[in-house]
Symmetry: C2
Subunit: 413 residues, 2 copies
């Protein structure tokens, strides 16, 4: 939720509105103060140089979704106001992996893995960030400063915090109290992330609400090394399209940044009413007071606006048309969505045979490979077992089969 | 206390007796096992090369005392049995100091300080260790391997332990539970000490009973890095000459290794009866069954034997003679202890004047300098304020004034 300026506080000047839009918290937070170390608006307005706005990312190579895009969109808001986005690729710890071997997330990556993953990430956020205006984007790899840290400096970093302070961190506290192991190297990671702020001389660090501790460590370390501490700007976690849980690929309630226009549009036009306002606030720049009144129209506008950001206006329009015809179900087909009649298929039928029959692949063998390669979806859901069997055509009627991004047919009787 | 072999265990072969003499604990400890990884005696008897026996020391530059000499004497026992003493000078952490600035002990030292302090240490233990036989002594500075440790290796070290394991360490546990700060870098020190064992491929590590945790960390790290884990050999802490508290310079109940023969002898011949057996066991090689029966004779033998180790037989004998005459007090003067009559001194008298009057210095100015330089003792107690005033001769009568190591007079009426 945005921080509403209190009635007595000065209204935010217009150039700050998109920076402050939709945030959960800024800290330190003294909106009435003239002190640029206590009030971010003051800092922004009185500093005669672009501020350095840090966002750290893990180069895991994962597909990223709209939830991940929120801090990236905030970086863009800072860029548009003339500041410098500093994207920090956490390649160092990715290359170290997890020495205990217990964490799946921190498996050890090669330098080539990391580089490829970083490219994948940048490719996905390219539609959001300003990559072109000189001085607006700095991409840094933290191995640049971390690989040269010697033991003396690491002892200095560790000496800035106590065990009690570290165990107060959410996540550590519960695990320690339940008797689950917390390995000592885990205590180092918040300090290394904090040291990234020192290395890039960050003025602001962006993160989810779960990053408050780490960002505060960055402030402490900057103070320790004689720098003016950064501000923390925390952004809400996005709920998934189910309206209940945090957006997550594994929960299936996500919208990936690289999904094709029709899939993206279709997922977004079903966003529950309870979420629609926060989706508009966090995922678009539209003024909230000018939204359509009808919830159904809101959904459509949301889906169209977000799809436009990633695929451009024409593709978004086309996806909207296609989706309308899909929603109309058995009615007149929308332009660009051909039909395929299941009457020619003998049931029970295996998936690869069915896909081969649609003509979207070069025969059954190609269909099998495409399914195994993850290119086949039915109504936006990826199916990967080519031998999955369908007993009858009934559950398939009206659904759209897609192969890759551009080829789809609607299954009819 | 020594580990008494149980009645059914094989008696220790004679070449192991001085190695096992007086120890508190060996771990792992399975005296009936034939496994050289579980039974140190087996390891010693079945290894076809000199074992590497580690002792770590802090280069603080402090004067060391008989309590400190115990593990050094144990190193010598290993040397005499053909093994290699590996003395590790902890120069790295001494040069880092304490980043929190809270510890007096870990103040930051320069490279030159550390070198000078290491020399001071080696000078003091020279009478105990075998410095000359080739292959019997290795002196290593741990900066050799610690200064090159990179962050990846440090994360690996930290990843071998959990917060719970580290907080179980004596010292940390109490402080944490009382809410006193335990700084994170303190968790690193046991790991660095343990890594020293990896670096020198130690077979045995010696330490006081308070070192069990750190030595066990060394075992874990050696296992982690594919080495056979070292044995730990723990030695008792020596009680001071007061018979109650751990020997310590600050408590005044200590005997320094560099004290002059008379002072050393005089302190040791007053050791309480309750301590005499452990002093014999820990500080001499004499068979305990052949000690004199009379406690007074035991004290003399202890004092003579220990003084001999540091000053040779002649000086020890001379000290014994001098001490006998001192103990005899007003009786006939011992050879070599001249008397000085206080009847020629006008009281109240300042210390420097009194010392100048004895003729042990080249006049009052020299006496003042000698007192300030710490060269003057009365009955073994160093006095450093040249203006200390004595109201009357009474408390001085019968006492011995010393200047330096060789000049002394007894004060008489």
């Amino acid at each position: 939720m945005p921080q509403d300026p209190s009635p007595t506080s000065p209204a935010l000047p217009s150039e700050l509105q998109s920076i402050y839009r939709g945030i959960s918290e800024v800290f330190p937070d003294q909106p009435h103060s003239n002190d640029p170390d206590q009030n971010l608006a003051q800092r922004i307005q009185t500093t005669n140089r672009p501020l350095r706005v840090k966002l750290g990312i893990d180069p895991t190579g994962a597909e990223i979704h709209l939830g991940h895009s929120i801090p990236v969109r905030k970086l863009r808001a800072f860029q548009d106001a003339g500041h410098t986005a500093v994207l920090i690729i956490g390649d160092f710890t990715a290359r170290i992996g997890d020495p205990t071997g217990k964490s799946e997330v921190r498996r050890q990556l090669t330098e080539a893995d990391v580089k490829a993953n970083a490219e994948t990430y940048l490719e996905q956020v390219r539609p959001i960030l300003d990559f072109d205006t000189p001085g607006r984007l700095e991409i840094r790899y933290n191995s640049e400063w971390l690989s040269g840290l010697d033991l003396g400096k690491i002892i200095e970093l560790l000496g800035t915090m106590t065990v009690g302070q570290m165990l107060a961190k959410e996540g550590f506290a519960e695990r320690y109290e339940k008797g689950n192991p917390v390995f000592l190297h885990e205590f180092l990671y918040p300090l290394l992330q904090g040291y990234d702020s020192v290395a890039v001389q960050a003025d602001v660090e962006l993160g989810g609400t779960d990053q408050k501790f780490n960002i505060a460590v960055g402030r402490d370390l900057q103070r320790h090394f004689g720098q003016t501490p950064q501000f923390g700007m925390l952004l809400p976690l996005l709920l998934g399209t189910d309206g209940h849980q945090k957006m997550s690929k594994s929960l299936g309630n996500y919208v990936g940044l690289q999904e094709d226009p029709l899939t993206m549009y279709s997922k977004l036009e079903k966003v529950p009413d309870t979420l629609i306002r926060s989706y508009f606030e966090l995922l678009t720049d539209l003024p909230l007071e000018s939204l359509p009144e009808n919830p159904r129209d809101q959904q459509k506008q949301l889906a169209l606006t977000v799809t436009e950001q990633f695929h451009g206006a024409a593709a978004a329009q086309q996806a909207q048309q296609a989706a309308i015809s899909l929603v109309q179900g058995m009615g007149e087909p929308a332009e660009g969505v051909p039909e395929f009649s299941l009457s020619t298929v003998q049931f029970p039928a295996k998936l690869f045979y069915l896909v081969g029959a649609t003509g979207l692949c070069a025969g059954s063998s190609d269909a099998r490979r495409q399914v195994q390669g993850g290119a086949v979806k039915i109504d936006g859901e990826k199916l990967i077992d080519p031998n999955q069997e369908f007993a009858s055509p009934d559950p398939l009627l009206g659904k759209v089969v897609q192969v890759g991004k551009k080829k789809f047919v609607r299954l009819v009787d």
